[in-house]
């Protein structure tokens, strides 16, 4: 009986998989045409947020004990399937050791713990919302975390005047997709709390594609010949904050990082 049931289930599932595979385009999301802005571009305006654990680790990971035992289950590592296409991050052999060292000393080294500007793409999937303000010449993205901000130039591409934490962004439309080329990123940012890192040769190409009224698909292709053997890609949906009067609030985290950064320099109490 049991064997018959499982055989049937397997057969059914196999048939369904074959059927799906045979249907053209079934594996891809159906083409979605986004509402337009007054000047005819896909309208990306809104407050968005990733709902995943990519900031904990871009790669798939099981739940784990948090770094501060006193916080119990409040600050344990939540599990996640990962957002890296093909799962593997193609580190050059020489870079693997640094990634491991970063991870081992994560709480002391992570720029997020220090409230430093997060860089791209990490700003997108930090566990805080961000807002897209879309104009013709520029698209401004304001991130709640650390008050980070970037202005994407939608005109003729311009060259960065220097390296910066959030990089230099030139954007263009490819059909439904906003494509942003990000260069001149500083080496000081990380990709996640698992210590995944890059060098100052980082080049990121982001793709924001509306996939329904309240979701976008976000992809970032990451290229850094000093750290990785080939370009690799992350992808995830972003969700719109649909609640009434949704608003970014201040998360000026400097004051939350001061104990970590300066605690050892405090005046010792004289008693």
């Amino acid at each position: 009986m049991r064997s018959w049931l499982s055989d049937s289930v397997i057969a059914g599932v196999t048939a369904a998989v074959l059927l799906l595979a045979a249907m053209p385009g079934a594996a891809q999301a159906p083409a979605y045409r986004a509402p337009r802005t007054a000047d005819g571009k896909p309208n990306l305006n809104g407050i968005w947020q990733a709902l995943n654990t990519a900031d904990w680790d871009l790669q798939g990971h099981a739940a784990a004990k948090g770094p501060v035992p006193l916080l119990g289950a409040v600050f344990a590592v939540p599990p996640g399937l990962g957002v890296v296409d093909g799962e593997e991050i193609p580190y050059l052999p020489a870079a693997v050791a640094k990634k491991k060292a970063n991870q081992a000393n994560w709480t002391m080294l992570d720029p997020e713990a220090k409230c430093y500007l997060p860089g791209v793409p990490r700003a997108t999937y930090l566990p805080y919302p961000f807002q897209i303000v879309q104009s013709q010449q520029n698209i401004l993205i304001s991130y709640e975390y650390a008050g980070a901000v970037r202005v994407i130039n939608m005109g003729a591409p311009t060259k960065a005047p220097g390296d910066s934490w959030m990089g230099w962004s030139n954007g263009r439309w490819e059909g439904e997709t906003l494509v942003v080329d990000v260069t001149s990123l500083m080496e000081d940012t990380w990709f996640d709390r698992a210590g995944n890192f890059h060098s100052d040769a980082l080049h990121v190409v982001e793709r924001y594609t509306p996939r329904s009224a309240d979701t976008l698909n976000y992809e970032a292709t990451i290229e850094d010949p000093k750290v990785f053997s080939r370009p690799w890609k992350i992808s995830m949906p972003l969700y719109r904050h649909v609640e009434k009067d949704a608003k970014l609030l201040e998360y000026k985290c400097v004051e939350f990082a001061e104990e970590l950064l300066y605690g050892s320099l405090r005046k010792k109490s004289s008693n």
């Binding site: 802005t37 007054a38 000047d39 309208n43 305006n45 409230c115 430093y116 500007l117 807002q131 897209i132 303000v133 879309q134 104009s135 013709q136 010449q137 520029n138 698209i139 401004l140 304001s142 650390a146 008050g147 980070a148 901000v149 202005v151 311009t158 005047p161 220097g162 910066s164 934490w165 959030m166 000081d188 009067d245 608003k247 970014l248 609030l249 201040e250 000026k252 400097v254 004051e255 001061e258 950064l261 300066y262 320099l265 405090r266 005046k267």
Partner: protein, 339 residues
């Protein structure tokens, strides 16, 4: 080409930026009568007045009126030309009454103007006003006794503990709230002090170059966030009155005082595009726990060129650790000496 002057505050040391290349204001001359060309207010694709661009509030006009001018609210063209000439021909550091020299102010000079490219010959007035504060007084009203007491009590708490830990240092040093980015926005002692405006449907975003301070202001008539949510820069909501963007801000913290105000501060800012290269920025501050009456200032902004640089203050802040470390070293030396 002049270089843009970066910052005169002590936070300079913390800024991760090379001295940027320059953008001298695109055109300050538009206010002269000869430039009175027909100009129509541009609109965004969704029909709102278009305030977008990069703006500078740099001006020679002082915030408060010099006492000697009494209730004189405006200069004549001749007086303004004479003042401008004296500023431009003056030596570095030479004070001119009726002119806010910023970096060239004797008290403010900590850096060689040559090094920072602050060009005294480019300084100019942006209106005929004798002070940015409008009205017959032209100064901030006297502080109420209760406000003096409140501020004195706050200062007393820190006295003797200035170097104990980061919390006793100023918000500006800590890169939490730099003096130049506090709202209302007033000219800072540097040549640029850039503000970039980007508008989307239902929102106007204001990006202040200094410390990348950004406000995304909804213009859909929504109320403020609940009163118990207090924010360093307050909660801003906006609406359009004709061609003017009106922004109302409340919910400040008790620590983000503006000129000694309390968390009861209520700020109303008005942005009106006056010409292709000029925006009139007017603000009224009201705080009945600090001043007997509201007061208003008006600042013309001039359109300028980018780029707006990333001003990462906290990321390069070596000041707090250096100051605290210095204090610990001194304490240790004093202790050894005492033994």
């Amino acid at each position: 080409m002049s270089r843009r002057f970066l910052a005169l505050t002590a936070a300079l040391a913390a800024v991760i930026l090379i001295a940027p290349l320059a953008q001298s204001p695109a055109a300050g001359q538009a206010t002269t009568a000869s430039a009175a060309k027909a100009w129509t207010l541009p609109h965004t694709p969704d029909g709102k007045p278009d305030l977008q661009g990069i703006w500078s509030d740099n001006t020679l006009t002082p915030f408060e009126r010099p006492k000697s001018l009494g209730s004189k609210e405006f200069y004549t063209d001749q007086e303004l030309a004479e003042l401008t000439r004296r500023v431009r021909e003056g030596r570095q550091g030479e004070q001119v009454e009726g002119a806010e020299l910023g970096a060239a102010n004797p008290q403010a000079i900590r850096y060689d103007l040559e090094v920072y490219g602050f060009d005294r010959t480019k300084l100019r007035y942006t209106s005929k006003r004798t002070s940015l504060i409008v009205g017959p007084e032209g100064v901030v009203p006297p502080m109420l006794p209760q406000a003096r007491e409140r501020n004195a009590a706050m200062a007393a708490k820190v006295k003797g503990h200035e170097f104990d830990g980061p919390e006793q240092r100023s918000l500006s040093e800590r890169c939490i709230l730099l003096n130049q980015i506090r709202i209302p926005m007033t000219p800072a002692a540097n040549e640029g002090n850039l503000l970039q405006i980007v508008q989307g449907p239902g929102y106007v975003s204001l990006l202040h170059e200094i410390d990348h301070s950004t406000r995304v202001i909804p213009t859909d008539g929504r109320p403020h966030v609940p009163q118990n949510i207090r924010l360093w820069q307050g909660d801003s909501v906006g609406h359009w009155e004709g061609n003017t963007l009106v922004v109302d801000t409340t919910n400040f913290t008790s620590l983000s005082a503006y000129r000694g105000s309390s968390d009861k501060l209520h700020l109303v800012e008005r942005f009106t595009r006056a010409a292709d290269d000029t925006m009139t920025y007017q603000f009224t501050v009201d705080d009945p726990t600090t001043w007997a009456k509201p007061w208003t200032a008006e600042i013309p902004w001039t359109k300028t060129k980018g780029p707006v640089y990333e001003w990462a203050c906290h990321e390069g802040n070596t000041m707090i650790s250096t100051i605290l470390h210095g204090a610990r070293v001194e304490e240790e030396a004093a202790q050894k000496k005492g033994k």
